[in-house]
């Protein structure tokens, strides 16, 4: 227990550091928050304008349903995207700050280091998502009267675990390719956005993209979130969406960690664990 407490204390160092950095970079945090709110609102207004754009008469209940459909996608994606980006930037950020050698020389096990960064990321992703949802509801009527909050929270947690694993794996890219590793992680994220049905059902995608959508955990999380928040689906009903995302999480976290540790060893052999790229 004492050892675990000690490791939690070490992990907390990274949470505290990230919160302190967020305070110091408050202007940039504000930019990302405003950007998130504006993006989500824009998507909601596209939904509200659907009848006018399509030229048809649409039932107001259907419009409301459509708006919520879009909002669930955009906010859930924002949550998962922040997790993927922040964890994926673990190396790149330290390199940019010039602290990478100090952090990797410290007597903190890599698992503890990454757990701490994941904790800080979950705090940030949750704060951003709640703030965006709150801000959007000030402008757009959002009907959550049928929502099953428990199902939605469970799905988000399962999705968070899956994206933590994928983020850890992609965080190792800048250790392999010091110049282009981070760009590669962003490309992976963009492809996941495209194929995961964030703004549309995956059925509209070409066959090969639909095949890719089956391996993206976001596909299941977002589809399940919609069923939970629009139709009030319970966890038993949502199991077909939960287990694939859970499986990705259960596999990706240990595999991501293993990959990261192996890549760190490679970086130490080849001199890639350094301040500059």
């Amino acid at each position: 227990m004492t050892q675990m407490g000690g490791q939690l204390g070490l992990a907390y160092a990274f949470v505290e550091r990230e919160i302190a950095l967020s305070k110091r970079y408050w202007a940039w945090e504000l930019v990302w928050l405003v950007y998130g709110i504006v993006t989500s609102l824009s998507v909601a207004y596209i939904g509200l304008a659907a009848p006018a754009i399509s030229g048809g008469v649409v039932d107001p209940a259907a419009v409301s349903h459509f708006v919520l459909y879009l909002l669930v996608g955009t906010i859930a994606w924002r949550f998962l995207g922040i997790i993927f980006e922040n964890i994926g930037e673990v190396i790149a950020w330290e390199r940019w700050e010039g602290t990478i050698e100090y952090t990797f020389m410290s007597p903190v096990p890599r698992f503890t280091h990454l757990i701490g960064m994941c904790g800080a990321t979950l705090v940030r992703a949750t704060a951003f998502s709640v703030a965006i949802l709150g801000a959007v509801t000030l402008f757009v009527p959002v009907d959550l009267s049928h929502a099953n909050a428990l199902s939605a929270v469970v799905l988000l947690l399962v999705g968070a675990m899956a994206f933590v694993g994928l983020g850890i794996a992609s965080a190792s890219f800048p250790l392999l390719w010091t110049e282009k590793g981070l760009q590669m992680a962003y490309i992976v994220q963009a492809v996941v956005l495209l194929v995961s049905g964030v703004y549309y059902p995956v059925d509209v995608l070409p066959g090969w993209m639909q095949a890719l959508s089956t391996i993206s955990p976001a596909t299941y999380v977002i589809r399940g979130m919609r069923a939970a928040l629009l139709d009030g689906a319970d966890l038993a009903t949502l199991w077909p969406e939960v287990w694939p995302a859970l499986l990705v999480g259960v596999l990706s976290v240990p595999l991501g960690l293993r990959l990261f540790v192996e890549v760190e060893r490679y970086a130490k052999r080849t001199g890639r664990l350094k301040r500059s790229g």
Binding site: L10, R17, G98, E101, M105, S106, P107, R269, T270, R275
Partner: protein, 277 residues
């Protein structure tokens, strides 16, 4: 290896008191621009507990590569490094708890204050925040740092102050082996003297062993019990300053350097700079 004498014979001559032992250490880097470059070539050295060992060499001589291997950031291609009997590869976590390093770059989170950086560093080494703050104040006062500025973002402090905070950070964790990689490069004369006096005082007051890299002949002689001269990745001479002068019939360390490398130190630095252009 040269016979050891010294300023502190009781420490140096006691068997089994090796702080750092490097045996036939070699490190080669490959790059598309430079091809294969042997940065450290078959270096063997032994540093005794409580000793200040100066590694003197021009830019590009392999000093920093050697220090990065000692600090577990680089894996040797060949040879063995032991810190207090622990192998840096097999016992990496234990070694990390015994060492700390001050690099030529200050390596801080620039937007965080000096105190925030110090508290964070303390946490990584299991030092409680209150203890970190108290110890940091004592060390920084001795280094002549203006205590009123400790809550300002580090980027607003001068290079000299940043480097003093870096030294305070290293001593905060009470390392048994301290690796100082050109700690006074870029400092003004006064700051340089303050840092040198502090390093000497702390070694005398605490049970710390220090490996210092420098390309400042005066600093090497002023601080080091023994000096090793690195040239093109090889340890070409080793001994106390007096021994080195006597062995090479020289009156100054500069002449010793000239005798063993064929160049003056500033000429060797210029050659190294030309190679990097």
């Amino acid at each position: 290896m040269a016979t050891l004498t010294a300023t502190r014979p009781e420490v140096i001559r006691t068997p089994g008191r090796d702080a750092l032992v490097a045996r036939a250490v070699t490190k080669t880097f490959k790059s598309s621009r430079e091809g294969v470059r042997r940065a450290v070539n078959d270096v063997s050295l032994r540093v005794m507990r409580g000793e200040i060992y100066g590694l003197l060499g021009a830019n590009g001589s392999g000093k920093s590569t050697l220090i990065r291997m000692f600090s577990t950031l680089l894996t040797p291609d060949e040879g063995e490094v032991r810190v207090f009997g622990l192998d840096i590869r097999a016992d990496e976590d234990a070694v990390k708890r015994l060492i700390n390093r001050v690099s030529v770059e200050a390596s801080f989170f620039k937007k965080l204050s000096a105190m925030e950086n110090l508290v964070y560093a303390g946490r990584l080494y299991g030092v409680a925040p209150d203890e970190s703050r108290a110890k940091a104040l004592v060390i920084l006062r001795r280094l002549g740092v203006d205590i009123d500025r400790l809550n300002e973002p580090l980027e607003k402090l001068s290079r000299g102050m940043q480097q003093k905070v870096a030294i305070a950070r290293a001593f905060l964790t009470a390392p048994t082996l301290l690796l100082l990689d050109e700690p006074t490069t870029g400092l003004d004369i006064r700051s340089k003297r303050e840092v040198q006096t502090f390093v000497r005082d702390l070694r005398d007051e605490h049970d710390a062993t220090i490996v210092l890299t420098t390309h400042d002949l005066d600093e090497a002689e002023r601080l080091s019990d023994r000096i090793g001269i690195l040239h093109d990745g090889r340890l070409v001479a080793e001994g106390t300053a007096d021994e080195l002068r006597a062995r090479h019939g020289a009156t100054a360390l500069e002449d010793v350097f000239m005798s063993v490398t064929g160049r003056r130190l500033d000429e060797a630095d210029a050659v190294a700079e030309d190679k990097t252009k």
